[in-house]
Structure formats: structure tokens, C-alpha cells
Symmetry: C2
Subunit: 351 residues, 2 copies
DNA sequence: TGTTAGCACTCATTGATGTGGAGTGCTAAC
DNA sequence: GTTAGCACTCCACATCAATGAGTGCTAACA
């Protein structure tokens, strides 16, 4: 935005041409190529002069003396912020993603990353919706064995968790019923912050000899409602797509990248970052582009990462991400993410 | 076994020496090395003669003229079957795997693969116990919304599944109770094969206007009990360990291998194969070694795979696997798997 | 007959060298 | 302001020789 003004129209066109050619080929692009590529009808010499300027301004880089130029991080940034938009309307056919309606969200998510990965040829990730200040909807204790209870906890958004509780001593059906009633009347509609110690100890009193069960159940409840960072499941796909881009495929880089995918906790950085900046309401599209150094994760400084949050209302939101080389096809990626965002809204609102 | 007899003692020692040196170094081993390595006190020339014989017999291979020798698949096989055992008693200190007791099996499994991967420096996989002819233990329908029921199905082994059922029309608490009773009395203790169409249609009759709910519940039951191959979750870890072995680390191979890990369905082949042969009761240790071509998966012909089944009694069993280069440290791997097997038994029997 | 020393030979690996070509920067002319 | 021309740079690639690990063979030895 601020930098863009120092560029006249011709420079912008040339820069755009350079970047686009580089996106396709992945190899430094020279002045002759551009002189043919554009409809400016300029000789390579003129282009060379302009390119020299562009390099001085920091938008392109010469990997070594007398080689072609490649975009710098700043160049990509300008391209994403401004140059790309001018073309945006052109290609925008909405591809129908074939997501069959399944009951389990987990499956949907796994399918989504998979489709996205094969659509874009990049590595992809997705998190399920995380529930901020989620409220308790329903608790059900059932006897499933002599000394075992099953606690089923349902939170808002129909997030179901269950936990087996091993008892110290047998419990009859009637007591189970009583406990059920107690738990539901006391805890129903509360969020995790609202369940305080006082309340728990009061309930334990009322439960009499079975106070330890109350403790276990409250634990289960806490687990069901609180979705802390560790809990958060991140699904990934297409990690091996990075082998398709020579600049990332050499053994050491690939190893690091794929490790990051496997461990997943580095990916959580993006989720956190994206969530934060989407709260600050930048742009409003909820789409975030990290180019090279802009990434919060060091191991991904040779990559670009594009993330989007999908928002299901009611405080539930998740994150989708695409990780690829810096020369990723930003237009296509952003496009894909946008349509996917809508689709996810659609699916989950129905469910 | 049958082939082993054509080898005299000296040849066996030399072969063993060759293999062990190769396991360490990963490079073709020459005669001079062996002449120093062994306590046979033979000159390199003599060793050369023996090696020539061993090559003719098919146990070792010369990658190119006048290079050292590397073990062939047959060589590894002999090593695993016979040579290795002679040393087995030596190193067998049981490493205590620090598996903290958690409630969720999923977490235990994820932790186990992780530990195993970092212990062995190979890629690892594990499946949860699959339940053959599993029986229904308990069904609980609960109303969680105006038009929504939650079906919780508990099968033997405390395998819990839940499913949200969307109703066509509201249902009052009383009906829910009645349905609960109906389902439990009819289906309790049955395995999936025993639930036939006749039974379902009879239940639908008794359910009256809510017959569609019965259908949904039975579906949920089926899903909970039947653990078909697709359902089966395979957890993996340490996929990037393959980068540590140059013979697997070149881009094309690594890409294929890691893809296989990501997709997981190739890994299911091993699970199936291992299960079958463990049923046939070979050896009795339940540990299976696939060397190179012996593998049922083509993409892993440059690897060796060692699998083990852990058995929890009651028809529940799962599979652990380690995937590495052919020159993997078989002794250590087998050892690790054995102790892990025991630990898993221990953990899950407690749970 | 089994073992060993010696020697010629093979072949992957490594580093040096040279060439071709893509691309630049600069200058001079239009 | 634009362009043609030219010298220059530097990577990529191929070629070549030197190196050295390792073999196979032969002949001598115990």
C-alpha cells in the first residue's frame, strides 16, 4: 500500500509479469523473456533498466551476478496485496467440492484437507471448530459394568465426549439416577469458568459417599468444554506435495517441513496467529497470507502459508491453511479457500 | 533353515560379520575389514575366497565389480532367522517405557508410536485393538435438543461411540425412555451378525411412529460394533526418520514412502497380513519380519518392516509396526517390540 | 589341501578444467 | 526515452585424470 506508490504503471506491469512467470517456471526470469511476454512492446534493454530499478527498490533479487531476477518477499507481498487483485475477477469459477455429507465432523475435516491438497497441489491443514466459552448442555451417567460408569457430556454445538469412570465400590441404579439429576440441575448451561470450587464441594457434599464420582464427572466435563491448544486436533494432508517444488524438496528442508507437519504443534502457531488477527478484523475476508519471514514458524521461512478462518457463529471457529513454496499460485489458493470457507459454513450449519 | 545347512561354521561367522558391519556403516564391506573384525585371524585373501562362495550362494551381493559386499535379502533373512539368535541373550535389558496412564486409548497409542519412533529411530505405526465379533453392551438414547437425540452405544471392551440423530418431529421424554427400554432389551448382548432384518422390522413395528429412529440407532450400533478395515485408525510417527538413512532419503523414494505413511491404507496391508499369519500361530512370538520383497506393499521394497500383534484377550488385538531400511537393527527392534507388547497388555488390561 | 602374499585390474568418487549459454550492465546511437 | 551492440560474469554441464578401496587370480608356502 504505502510502498506501491513509488511504482509507475509500467513498473507495476513488469513486476507483475516477472512474478507471474516465476510462479510458473520457478526459475529466474530474464529481461528478454519479459520483453516478449508483455504487450508493452519494449526491448529487453529497456526492461533491463526497469528491472534494475525494481531491484534497487527491493522488489526483486538477483540470485547471483548476471542471472535473471526472482521476486523478493516484498515483491510477493506487493503482488498479493495489489497486483493480484487486478486480475481477480478473471478466473473465479467456483469449483464444486464434492463433500459428501457425513455425520462425523472428523470425517468431514479429513476429507476437506484431502480434497484441498489434491486441488491445489500444496500441503494443507485444518482444525476443527474450537469452542470459546462453550456451555454445557447435557450430562448422562450410565452404568456399564459392576464397577464402571460411563459419563457422556454434551456441550453446545453437540460436541460429545465420553469417559469411563472406574468406581471404588458398586453403585446401584437408583444412585446413578440421583447423581444424574444432581449433575444436570447444578451444571446445566454453565461454561467452564462458571464452575467454581465452591459449587463442586457443595455437590460433593450432596453426593455423600459418592463424592469421588462427582469429581471424576466434573473432570470429564472440564475436558469436554475446554478446548485448549493441546487438545486441538489438526488434520493435515498432502505433506508430500512439497516434493513437487524443487526449492523445497532437498532432503534437509523437506525433512524439517514434514516433521513440522507430523508434529503439528508448529502448525498450531498459525492457528493462533490467524485467530488473533481475524479478531482484529483485518480486511474482513479472514484470509491471511504469510510470505517467507512473515511466518511465525522458523522452519517455514522458505514457504508461504495462506490461512483462513471459517466461522460458524456462536463463537465457534476453525482454521484452514495451505503451505507451499513462496511461488505458490496465490490467486488459485485464495480462491479455493474462499469457496471452501463458504462450503464449510454451509455443511456445519446444516449438521 | 533349509538353506542354512550348506554353510559351515566359518562361513556363518563371516556372513554374520559382514551383515553386522553393514548394519552399522551402511556401506559395502570389504575383505580386509572383515579380516580384522573377526577373531578368526584369517588374511583378507582367505576372506575373499569365502566371500566369493557366499556370493555364489546368494547371501551377499556386489553392487558393482570390485566393490565390497552388501547383504542380499536372503542374507538378511538368514541373519534374522538364525544368526541373530545366537547373540540374542546378550543385550536384553528391558527399557522402561514411560507411558503415563491416561484414560483415552487414543492418547496411549499416540504416545506409544512416538516413544517407539524416538527409541528406534525408525518410522513406526500402531493400530488400536480391533474387536472381532464384538458384542453390544449398552445403548442410551438421550434428548439433547428439540429435534435431536444422542445415541450412545457401548460395546464390549468399553468401546464407546456416539451419534446425533436428527428427528423429523419432536419426541417427548417418555417416548425416549420407552425406546431406550426397547432397544436395550432387544439388542443387548448381541453381536452384529445376530442382528438380522427380521428383528429390526419387529422393533420398528413396536416403535410405532418413531420407527425411523430405530433405524438410525441400529445404524449407529452397527458402526460401533463393526470395525471394518476402513474404520481402523492407524497412528504413525517418526516418518521423517527415513531421512536418516541415505539409501531411503533420495527424493523420489522418500516421497513415496512418506505418502504411504500419510495415506495409511498401504499400512493396513501389513496389519491384515500380520493378523492372518499370527492366527496361523507361526513361531508364537507374534513377531513378523518382512525383508525387502517379502513385503506385501510394493512401495516398501527397499525397506524392512517388523510387525507384532498385541493381544488383549477376548478377541481384541492390535498391531505395532516398525519400518526402516533393510539394514535395520533387527535385534534392537525385535527387543523393543517384545517389551512393548508386554507393556500394552499390561496397560490395557488394567484399563 | 588350505592359507597367504603379491599383483594387475575395475570402477565409483572426487576435484580440476574447459566450454556454452543465458543474462546483465554499459555505452553509443537513434 | 528507447534501443542495438558488445564485453563481461557466472552457473551448469561435461570431460578428464587422479585416487583409492576392493576384487580375482596366480603362485608359493606349510
Amino acid at each position: 500500500m504505502q510502498l506501491g506508490n513509488e511504482l509507475d504503471e509500467r513498473k507495476r506491469i513488469i513486476l507483475k509479469a516477472i512474478i507471474q512467470t516465476y510462479l510458473e517456471t520457478g526459475e529466474p526470469v530474464g529481461s528478454r523473456t519479459i520483453s516478449k511476454y508483455t504487450d508493452l512492446n519494449l526491448s529487453s534493454a529497456t526492461i533491463r533498466n526497469e528491472m534494475s530499478d525494481l531491484e534497487e527498490l527491493g522488489y526483486i533479487i538477483q540470485p547471483y551476478t548476471s542471472a535473471g531476477r526472482i521476486p523478493s518477499d516484498a515483491g510477493y507481498r506487493l503482488y498479493v496485496d495489489e497486483l493480484m487483485k487486478e486480475k481477480e475477477k478473471e478466473v473465479s469459477e467456483i469449483k464444486e467440492l464434492m463433500i459428501e455429507k457425513t455425520d462425523k465432523m472428523e470425517k468431514v475435516l479429513k476429507q476437506v484437507v484431502k480434497i484441498l491438497a489434491s486441488n491445489t497441489n500444496y500441503a494443507t491443514m485444518i482444525t476443527g471448530p474450537t469452542y470459546h466459552r462453550n456451555k454445557l448442555k447435557f450430562i448422562q451417567l450410565s452404568k456399564v459394568g459392576e464397577m464402571q460408569l460411563l459419563a457422556v457430556v454434551v456441550a453446545e454445538g453437540n460436541l460429545v465426549k465420553n469417559q469411563i469412570i472406574n468406581l471404588q465400590e458398586p453403585m446401584d441404579e437408583e444412585t446413578v439416577l440421583k447423581l444424574n439429576l444432581l449433575l444436570n440441575t447444578q451444571l446445566n448451561g454453565l461454561s467452564i469458568e462458571e464452575i467454581n470450587l465452591k459449587m463442586i464441594s457443595r455437590m460433593k457434599e450432596q453426593a455423600g459417599i459418592h463424592s469421588d464420582v462427582v469429581g471424576s464427572v466434573v473432570d470429564a466435563v472440564a475436558k469436554a468444554i475446554a478446548t485448549d491448544d493441546e487438545e486441538m486436533e489438526i488434520y493435515t494432508s498432502g505433506a508430500t506435495n512439497i516434493f513437487k517444488y524443487p526449492e523445497l524438496a532437498d532432503t534437509s528442508k523437506a525433512s524439517e517441513l514434514i516433521s513440522a507437519f507430523e508434529e503439528k504443534q508448529e502448525l498450531a502457531e498459525f492457528v493462533k496467529d490467524t485467530m488473533e488477527s481475524s479478531e482484529n478484523g483485518e480486511k474482513g475476508t479472514g484470509i491471511q497470507v504469510y510470505i517467507g519471514n512473515e511466518s511465525p514458524v522458523k522452519t517455514m521461512q522458505d514457504c508461504s502459508v495462506v490461512t483462513a478462518t471459517y466461522d460458524l457463529g456462536g463463537g465457534m471457529q476453525g482454521t484452514i491453511g495451505i503451505i507451499g513454496p513462496k511461488r505458490m499460485d496465490y490467486e488459485n489458493v485464495v480462491d479455493n479457500l474462499k469457496t471452501l470457507k463458504n462450503q464449510l459454513d454451509h455443511i456445519f450449519k446444516k449438521t
